[in-house]
Subunit: 434 residues, 2 copies
């Protein structure tokens, strides 16, 4: 994890690699996976809630009875059986009439984002995205040598007037914004949801500006109260690329996601995916197909909702009871995350080593901005740890913050670490740290 070895290959790297560095923060997260640390850092679902015995039996049959297909190569687009099931899943969210022919199965939602970036982004192109936004998407855009321009949110999600202003600013700069990347429902990391009214406004603005929309919807089915507003893709067939995944509704360990794309584009995406991974895993696709066809998967989602609602309540309650004055946070109605804003003068990145020493981990807000801002924020996950662990984690965290505030009262802010800018991805943990 340290990587201090002399790198003799530096002069040979492609240009896209040159900005890529790991940071001291990343090394800290390795420590955060120790059992004594309450990690509120990851984004892992609570897999232990799955009926693992039944899943095992299902996978047994998939290999023993269909192994000649399920363990063989498949086609680049993904099996037609899974693409049909995916269309049924999307119909439950309000996306009706999608054709399996327009679905491309991907290696998790991450590969979907990467394929879209490779399809549309040349070096120097601009992507608009919520500020803050998903760290994995920022990594994709950085690898594509694109520039991310963040658009602010409030409690109702992306602010339409700010989107208009951002589009105009990019135009004035003579650059080209290729698409808006948005997670409208139970946003990662902010935990807010774009309202119905704003969904229409955002779509109208993008349509007028000729801006494509990449809608990332991993959490839409994980609502704790009323159903989430319909996806953007349910409202417009053209110009919207819909991305989702089975990582949060079934299991991330299978790496199965998808893109619903306009027909003409779908073929290009398949060719890009073949150049990237040849084909998605036939076995993983078979597993998801069987799960959706033979097991009570919608009941299982209700189980997840109940568990996560209880944990969200535990987190919000603990924040309310324990956080120092001046701290604020979002109130998610679904998904996995709360986004907290620290009292004036605290620095979430500089505070990380002290938090780890106090046996609690979070992701500093800097991980979710391409421009190095976010030091007054942190992302807190509530899907993985038990309510008791969450409360204990928040208690430890508030202790660290109280200490920081006391230090600051004595010494001023100069003890904070330097503001050297890293890459966003370097300020976030690897995918496994829950």
């Amino acid at each position: 994890m340290t990587g201090t070895t002399q790198d003799d290959y530096t002069d040979r790297y492609a240009r896209r690699v040159r900005g890529m560095t790991t940071s001291e923060i990343r090394a800290l997260f390795a420590v955060a996976s120790r059992p004594e640390v309450v990690s509120l850092a990851g984004g892992s679902p609570y897999i232990a809630a799955l009926p693992l015995d039944a899943v095992g039996e299902m996978l047994n049959q998939l290999a023993a009875e269909q192994g000649a297909q399920s363990l063989q190569y498949g086609i680049g687009q993904g099996t037609v059986e899974l693409r049909e099931r995916i269309c049924e899943v999307m119909a439950l969210s309000g996306i009706s009439g999608a054709s399996p022919d327009d679905v491309v199965v991907t290696v998790g939602g991450q590969q979907a984002l990467d394929l879209l970036a490779r399809l549309f982004l040349d070096p120097g192109d601009v992507v608009l995205a919520e500020g803050p936004s998903y760290v994995g998407a920022l990594g994709v855009f950085q690898a594509a040598q694109a520039q991310v321009k963040h658009v602010p949110m409030d409690d109702e999600g992306l602010i339409p007037a700010a989107l208009e202003e951002a589009i105009a600013a990019v135009e004035r700069s003579g650059r080209k914004a290729k698409f808006l990347y948005t997670i409208p429902t139970f946003q990662n990391p902010a935990g807010v949801t774009l309202t119905d009214e704003r969904r229409e406004q955002v779509l109208d603005i993008c349509e007028r500006a000729g801006l494509l929309v990449v809608e990332d919807d991993p959490y839409g089915m994980l609502s704790f109260e009323e159903e989430a507003p319909r996806p953007l893709r349910a409202r417009r067939r053209e110009g919207v690329f819909y991305v989702s995944t089975f990582s949060k509704t079934f299991a991330p360990g299978l790496r199965v996601g998808w893109i619903l794309a306009p027909h003409a584009v779908r073929e290009k995406l398949v060719m890009m995916s073949e150049a990237n991974v040849l084909c998605p895993s036939a076995f993983a696709q078979g597993a998801v197909t069987q799960y959706l066809s033979t097991m009570p998967w919608q009941e299982q989602i209700k189980v997840y909702r109940e568990i996560y609602r209880e944990r969200r309540d535990a987190m919000l309650g603990a924040l309310r009871d324990l956080m120092p004055p001046g701290t604020t946070w979002t109130h998610p109605t679904g998904g996995l995350f709360v986004w907290a804003t620290l009292p004036e003068g605290l620095d979430s990145k500089a505070m990380m080593p002290r938090a780890i020493a106090a046996r609690v981990a979070y992701v500093p807000g800097t991980g979710f901005y391409a421009d190095g801002t976010g030091r007054s924020n942190m992302r807190l996950n509530f899907s993985f740890s038990s309510p008791e662990r969450i409360r204990e984690g928040i208690r430890r965290l508030s202790g660290v913050m109280e200490q920081e505030l006391a230090m600051r009262a004595v010494f001023g802010s100069s003890f904070a670490s330097s503001r050297r800018r890293g890459t966003a991805a370097a300020d976030a943990p690897g995918p496994d740290l829950a």
Copy 2:
């Protein structure tokens, strides 16, 4: 598969996408998967030879007993358990002393090649590769907007003098060759193996020229006679990136491959892989780890060797008995493929529709060259079909060739289709067509 819909997104694509087109050939391969067609086109292992019941039981346990890990996110580099097993597998091939810390688990060998391309290739860079070479690698280099310069082979593999000449020619043109991509053992598609003596020569040439080597070794364990020569990576630790996969030794449907990279580079590869797929499937990695740890996998490889040797013998025998005079072919001592050269005047690409009509499929040689050459060649697969089917396929193929030769004797060569150049990938089937 037709993709004739109007594409309103054309103006928005990134530059790397613009050369990407599918061809009429690709649509033909869809027909080739019908059961009445003997397909010698694919590259699929004979999965039915696996002990599928035992594999099923193993996967059952992996989910039921270790599901909380195996169905969860994993780390970007891949599990340490699998990386340790991979080092043991490489040691069997002669690569000793590799550290699990320098292994990056990938989504099949394909993602390994793509990551290396993204790491090293800027648009316009040159890659040297055998001519012919693996179609999937050519797709990767094309997506990276690199230029492939082919280096010819003979029965002893890559010709060292030709490699020196190619390096000099690239230098004279003022461009930069970033690496040599090579499949030294049981080459795809040519079926030839680089001799021991030439391995040393090729390494010396690359070392002198400061050229990195990407060694792709999916077939090295599938030898039919004596053991294959030791990999290039077994001879040089620096400057050689070793890529392999479990697709041919266990099951392609799991999509598990790897890169062994110099330590300093390994960290960059992990970050690129995280931006691409977040992490490789924890379940697929667990499956391979269990397979290597608890099942007689080396015995299973001997089973594959026996089956493929018998099928290779069937193919070589049928070619000798049935091919029209003037046809030549390679004599592989391992792997999955024979490479045939047609009699003067025959065109493997133009002949494809007639071959499909005669219920036999192959891959035209044009799929394996980035420069549109290869019309006098075809790749024939012997791993998937039974000896009887192989003999019947070659019988049908020779019938088509006899007809073509008769037509040519009457009408001359003008009846051949136009020489419009497509992309190599467009002349090859999808990954599933065996």
